[in-house]
Amino acid sequence: MPTVMELYKLLPKTNCKKCGESTCMAFAVALLSRKKKVSECTPIIEEMFKKDREKLESLLLPSSGAGETGMIVHTELCTGCSNCVVACPVDVANDPRGAGTGGAPTNDKVIFRVVDGKVVASNIKECRRFGKNRVLCYACIDPCPTGAIEFV
């Protein structure tokens, strides 16, 4: 996953505000959290920035295995503890009496479930990092002590 600085260095750094952000730095942050796309930076579309643009796009390319929200589950690190299953606000909302109270999921609407001792993510479009009102949610990452969940 690139850092904000790495992305910023590749931007025009003119703070032109055409993307809707107040500075290029703010745009870099928005790129990283996937709230903005590279194409929303109008100056960088120009030919002279072609190399920078390609570099940016490759940096932001989701790694292999990542879903549409950029989520990767490193199953080899997962202990199957279910902390993410229970802490995910989507799981709590969609299965308040099951996952929400610490138990096994009782329906198919949850994002996380544990199979063979490792977490499996589904219904990924329900993730708060996805869709129109997306937010930079860390609810599944914070309770994981082994770093088994990552967003790229």
Partner: protein, 403 residues
């Protein structure tokens, strides 16, 4: 839904897919539980003197060894059902044998305090519904009881804890090592030196009564303040703390007495260690290390470790444990020199040196029964996979019949 026997949480919300008399897929269990439910690669076969034998002959020979022994011991029990444990106690009585379990060098000290009501205890369901301050002390639940935090303590919404863990609960870790549990506790991790628990308890009890601690005063005062303000607190005592204060467990009783809103819960590893402790306690008033004669006598010399060190037993029946994989290495040679009878579903280190091996069904999976969760709640075990193995309970009954 079946019950997992991976650890003493006995999670009873597990789904499995069974194919060809084996569990093919496990849902909702943690990595430890899934491994336990899927079972070992090497099943044990009946043998006498490490030579294949039929199971009936093996059972007969086992009975003969126990009958002829001057001082036999029946040991293990923490991975056995309550029914098998109760049969084991009967067998010990019949043989005038010594009976001991893994709690002897594990959490036995604390379970005894719990059963004698020296600690204020509560159920894990109480923790889920009410607890706002959770202290993991010398315990890495994340690796040993992996769903402890998600099912009962930190992460679930409970009756009086509806808003989620960030707002409703504080988790604290006190440990020598920055364990996975400590990582979750982040700002509330207290690293102590090896064997530093006693001093930490003293500093904490001091701080609770208003004394300024000599070391790390700011953080210990902060901890005392959090604990004092707790509406419903729980201290989960891991084996790290138990070993460290084993010569003076009352210091923990004293800490508990200073914290009227706190509950003390020993963290148990094997799925039914507490079951054995409760059964023996009910029968004799002791949780382990008992010799039956005309009465039940409890002495430290009846602890597995002492009995082997003093070479005072001349036959050993092992079930629901693999002592060779956990006892101090220097004890192995004596253990290997006496006749050992091993009842287990799997090939174990102990079975490799045993005179008699008797394969059993995997309790809780291939045979049903009940077990006692770490907080004392009785949980039914499923026995859902069809098989031709004898349950450990039956094997013990058969040995008794042969006597």
């Amino acid at each position: 839904m079946i019950t997992c026997t991976g650890c003493s949480l006995l999670c009873d919300d597990i789904d499995v897919v069974i194919e060809n008399h084996r569990i093919k897929e496990v849902r909702n269990a943690c990595r430890r539980g899934a491994a336990k439910l899927k079972g070992c690669r090497n099943r044990l076969r009946p043998s006498i003197d490490q030579t294949p034998a039929d199971i009936d002959t093996s059972i007969k020979r086992a009975a003969l060894i126990l009958k002829n022994a001057r001082s036999p011991m029946l040991y293990g029990w923490s991975n056995s059902t309550c029914e098998a444990q109760s049969n084991g106690i009967k067998l010990a009585k019949k043989l005038n044998a010594i009976i001991d379990d893994t709690s002897s060098f594990c959490q036995g000290l604390l379970i005894e305090k719990v059963l004698k009501k020296k600690f204020r205890a509560c159920s894990l369901d109480d923790v889920k519904n009410k607890a706002d301050v959770l202290v993991y002390w010398g315990s890495d639940a994340q690796d040993s009881q992996p769903r402890h935090l998600s099912r009962f303590s930190y992460f679930p919404r409970g009756e009086s804890r509806q808003r989620g863990y960030e707002e409703d609960r504080i988790a604290i870790a006190i440990d020598v090592r920055e364990s996975n549990t400590a990582k979750i506790c982040k700002g509330h991790f207290y690293r102590i030196p090896l064997k530093g628990d006693r001093e930490f308890i003293l500093s904490l009890t001091g701080a609770l009564s208003g004394k300024v601690p000599k070391h790390d005063a700011k953080r210990i005062l902060e901890l005392a303040d959090i604990m004092k303000k707790a509406e419903f607190g729980a201290i989960f005592v891991g084996i790290g703390l138990t070993y460290s204060i084993k010569d003076d467990v009352d210091i923990l009783v004293a800490l508990g007495d200073m914290l009227p809103n706190f509950h003390i819960l020993p963290m148990v590893g094997h799925y039914n260690m507490r079951g054995f402790n409760e059964a023996l306690f009910k029968e004799t008033g002791f949780v382990n290390r008992v010799r039956f004669d005309s009465t039940a006598v409890h002495e430290n010399k009846y602890a597995i470790v002492e009995a082997l060190k003093q070479k005072s037993i001349d036959a050993l029946l092992v079930t629901g444990s693999d002592p060779l994989s956990c006892l101090p290495g220097s004890m192995i040679s004596y253990l290997a020199s006496i006749p050992v009878i091993c009842i287990d579903p799997c090939v174990t280190l102990t079975s490799k040196i045993s005179k008699i091996t008797i394969p059993s069904a995997v309790s809780g999976i291939e045979s049903g029964g009940s077990a006692v969760r770490m907080d004392g709640k009785v949980i039914e075990l499923s026995g859902i996979v069809e098989n031709n193995y004898l349950a450990d309970t039956e094997i013990l009954s058969r040995i008794m019949e042969e006597l």
